[in-house]
Amino acid sequence: MLELAVSQILVVDVFLATLAGVLLGLLIGAMPGLNVTMALALLIPVSIALPTGPGIALLVGIFMAGMTGGAFSAILLNIPGTPASAATLLDGHPLAKRGDGGRALGIAVSASSFGGVVSLLILMLVAPQLANVAGRFGPPEVFALVLFGVLIIAGVSSGSVVKGLVSTALGLFVMTIGLDPLTSTPRFTFGIVELQRGVSLIPAMIGLFAIPQVLEALRGRGSELAAGIGTRVGRVRPSFADLRFIVPASMRSSGIGTALGIIPGTNGAVAAFMAYEISRRAAKDSSKFGDGDLRGIASAEASNSGITGGAMVPLLTLGIPGDNITAVLLGALLLHGLAPGPLLFDDSPDVVALIFGALLLANLLTVLVSFGGLKAFVQVLRVPKRVLFPVIVVLSVAGAYAVSASFFDVWVMVFFGFLGYLLTRHGFPIVPVLIGIVLGPALEGNLRRSLALSGGDFGIFVQRPIAATLLVMALLVVFGPPLWKYARRRSTPDGPAGTGEPDGQSASSVDATVSASPGQDGDDAEPASTHQRPNEGRDG
C-alpha cells in the first residue's frame, strides 16, 4: 500500500494540487473568521472541475494544513481556527504573550506533522483490523465515549466545573433546535423555516470565538489597539532539545488521536483535550500546563492531527464521516463518483492509495511550507489591532454568510458572538459550548439508539463493559474534583476555606478566549492574564 501511495503522489498535477491545498489550508487556518470546513465546502466545485486525483489531493491538502493552520491563530490571537485547536491555545497563547510565539508555532507544526505521519503509517498498516474493532462499537459505547469527552472538556476548560457544565449544556441545548433527527419532529423552531435545519456550526463557531475577542478589545480602546498582535514570533524552527522534550507526549497523543479518530462521532476537539489532560496527568511536573508548557501544545496538535488519519478509516471503510470535516470530504468523494465503504478498498485501491499518499505529502509539505514561510504567514497578523478587528468582523460576517448564502446564519453568528462575550465576562468557558454543539447530535442520537436497543432500559450502559467503564470515568471527571476538595476541607477544619488546590483538580484553569479575566462576581475587573489559577477563589 505504501508503494502504491507514493507512486500516486509522484504525479505533477497531484503534487501541485496538494501544494495548493496546503498553502490555502495554512492561510485559511491562520485567518480568524475563516475555517477549514467552509473552505472545503466552497472549494468542492473547484475539486469537481479537476480530474479525480488532483481534485481529491487539493481537498486533502486543505484538510491537513488547515488543522495545522488553526494553531497559528490559536497561538497568536487566542482564537482557535478549528475546534480541535482550542486545546492548543491553552499553552500556545501564553507563550506568544511572552514573546515565544515562534517557538510555540514551531512545536505546533512539528507535533502536528508528527501526529499526522504516525497516524497515517499506523493506519496504512492496520486499517482493516482497526475498522473491524470500530465496527463493533455500538451506540452505548459511542454514547459513553462522547459523554466522557464532553465532560472532560467541561472540567478542563474552566476553574469551575459547574460553569463548564453549564456551558456544555447550553451548547447541547442549541443542537436540539431544529428537526428531531429520528422523528423529524420540529423542536424550538417557532415556525421559522430557517430554524428547521438547526443551528449551523460554522456561524456559531465564528461568533463564539471571533466576536468576543473584538468586543473585549473595545473595552480598552486606546494605544493597545494601535499595536499588532503576536508581533514577536522569533525563531520558528524548534531546537533539538525542545523536540526531544515533546517526543513522549507527541507519541502518546498521536496514538490517542488515531484511536479516537476511528470512532465515528468523536472529533479533533475531544482527542485534543483528552490527550492534553492525559499528558498533564502523566507529567512529573505539570505546573506549567496552561502557562506555556510545550508538552501541552504538542499533545493537542499531535492528537488533533492524529485524528485526521483515524477519521479517514470509518470514512473510507464504512462510509461514515468521523467529524464535520470528513463529512464534507465524503460529499466530495461521492461527487467524484466514488463509493466510500467496505468495497472501496477492493474496487478502487488506487484511490485509497492516492488519499493516503496525499495525506503523507500534505504532512511533509505543511512542515516545509510552515518553517520556510511561517514568518510570512504571521505577517498577516502583524497589522494593528484597529485594522485587524474590523476586518475580523467583516470576515466573520462574510464567513457566516458563505455557509449557505443566508443572512440568517449571519444573525446566528452575531447572536453567538454576544452570547460568547457575556459568558466570558462572567467566567463561563465557551469552548464547551462549541463542543456541545459539535457533539450534541452524536450524544443524543446514540443515547436514543441505545435505549431503542434496550427497550428503554438504561441498564444497557451498565451491562456493556466498555460503556460502563467510560461512564464511570465520566462521573469521576465531574464529581471527583469537588468531592476531593470537600474531603480535604473536612480533613483540615482549621485550614483556609475555599482555597488551595485539590490534587485531582486541573492545575491550569483557563477561560480560553479573551484576554481579560472577569472578576469573581463577573463585574468589571481589571484586565488580567487569561489564566485563572485555582487559588484565585473561583467556585469549585
Binding site: 466552497l42 472549494l43 459547574v162 460553569k163 457544565l165 453549564v166 449544556a169 447550553l170 441545548f173 436540539t176 428531531d180 429520528l182 422523528t183 419532529t185 420540529p186 423542536r187 424550538f188 466576536i211 473584538v214 468586543l215 473595545l218 473595552r219 480598552g220 480602546r221 494601535a226 484597529r386 485594522v387 478587528f389 474590523p390 476586518v391 468582523v393 467583516v394 470576515l395 460576517v397 462574510a398 454568510y401 458563505a402 448564502a405 443572512f407 449571519v410 452575531v414 458572538g417 454576544f418 462575550y421 462572567h426 467566567g427 443515547l447 436514543r448 435505549l451 431503542a452 434496550s454 476555606a497 475555599g498 472578576g519 469573581q520 462576581d521 463577573g522 463585574d523 468589571d524 467556585d539
Partner: protein
C-alpha cells in the same frame, strides 16, 4: 442576609427561569413518536433542562455562599462598556443594512449588480469603524478601506463565488 445579587446568583436564577420557560415550550410542542422503543423528540431536551436546573441551583447556592463569605466586588465602570455598545450597534447596523439594502433599492427602481451591496456596506462599515478606533487620517483610512474591500470582493465573490448581495 442577602443584600446584593452577584453574577453567579444572577446566572443561576436566570438559568432556572430559562429551564422553566423551555420546559413549558417543550410540553407545548408535539411529543413525537417513539421509534422502535427509542424515546421521542422531547426526551433529550427534557434531560438537558433537568440537568441545567440542577446546575442553576448549584450556581445560585454558590453565589449566595460567596456573598455570605463577605466577598466584596468592585463597582462596575459603565464607561468601559461604551466601546462594546458602540460596536454592537455598528455590527447590527452593518448586517441589517446589508441584508435589506438591495430590497430597499429595488423598491425605488435601483438594481445593484451582484456583490455591490456587500462591497458598499463593507466599505462604509470599515471606514467608520477605523475612524472610531482612532485612524484620524482620512486618506489612509480611505485607502485601507478600499484595499481591504477590494481584496474581500475578489477573494469571496470572484474566487470563491460566494453569492453576496
Amino acid at each position: 442576609m442577602v443584600r446584593r445579587i452577584n453574577s453567579d446568583m444572577a446566572w443561576g436564577t436566570g438559568l432556572l427561569l430559562f429551564c422553566l420557560v423551555v420546559t413549558l415550550l417543550i410540553l407545548d410542542q408535539p411529543a413525537g413518536d417513539s421509534v422502535r422503543g427509542a424515546p421521542g423528540a422531547r426526551f433529550f431536551p427534557l434531560l438537558l433542562v433537568g440537568s441545567m436546573s440542577v446546575l442553576g441551583v448549584a450556581l445560585t447556592v454558590s453565589g449566595i455562599g460567596s456573598l455570605l463569605d463577605g466577598k466584596e466586588r468592585a463597582p462596575i465602570d459603565w464607561r468601559r462598556f461604551g466601546g462594546v455598545a458602540t460596536a454592537a450597534v455598528g455590527m447590527f447596523a452593518y448586517v441589517y443594512v446589508m441584508s435589506h439594502l438591495r430590497g430597499w433599492a429595488r423598491n425605488v427602481g435601483i438594481f445593484f449588480p451582484r456583490g455591490t451591496v456587500f462591497a458598499l456596506t463593507t466599505a462604509l462599515f470599515l471606514f467608520v469603524f477605523f475612524r472610531y478606533l482612532g485612524e484620524r487620517r482620512w486618506q489612509a483610512n480611505a485607502a485601507l478601506t478600499l484595499a481591504i474591500t477590494g481584496v474581500l470582493y475578489v477573494g469571496f465573490i470572484s474566487m470563491l463565488d460566494v453569492r453576496f448581495p
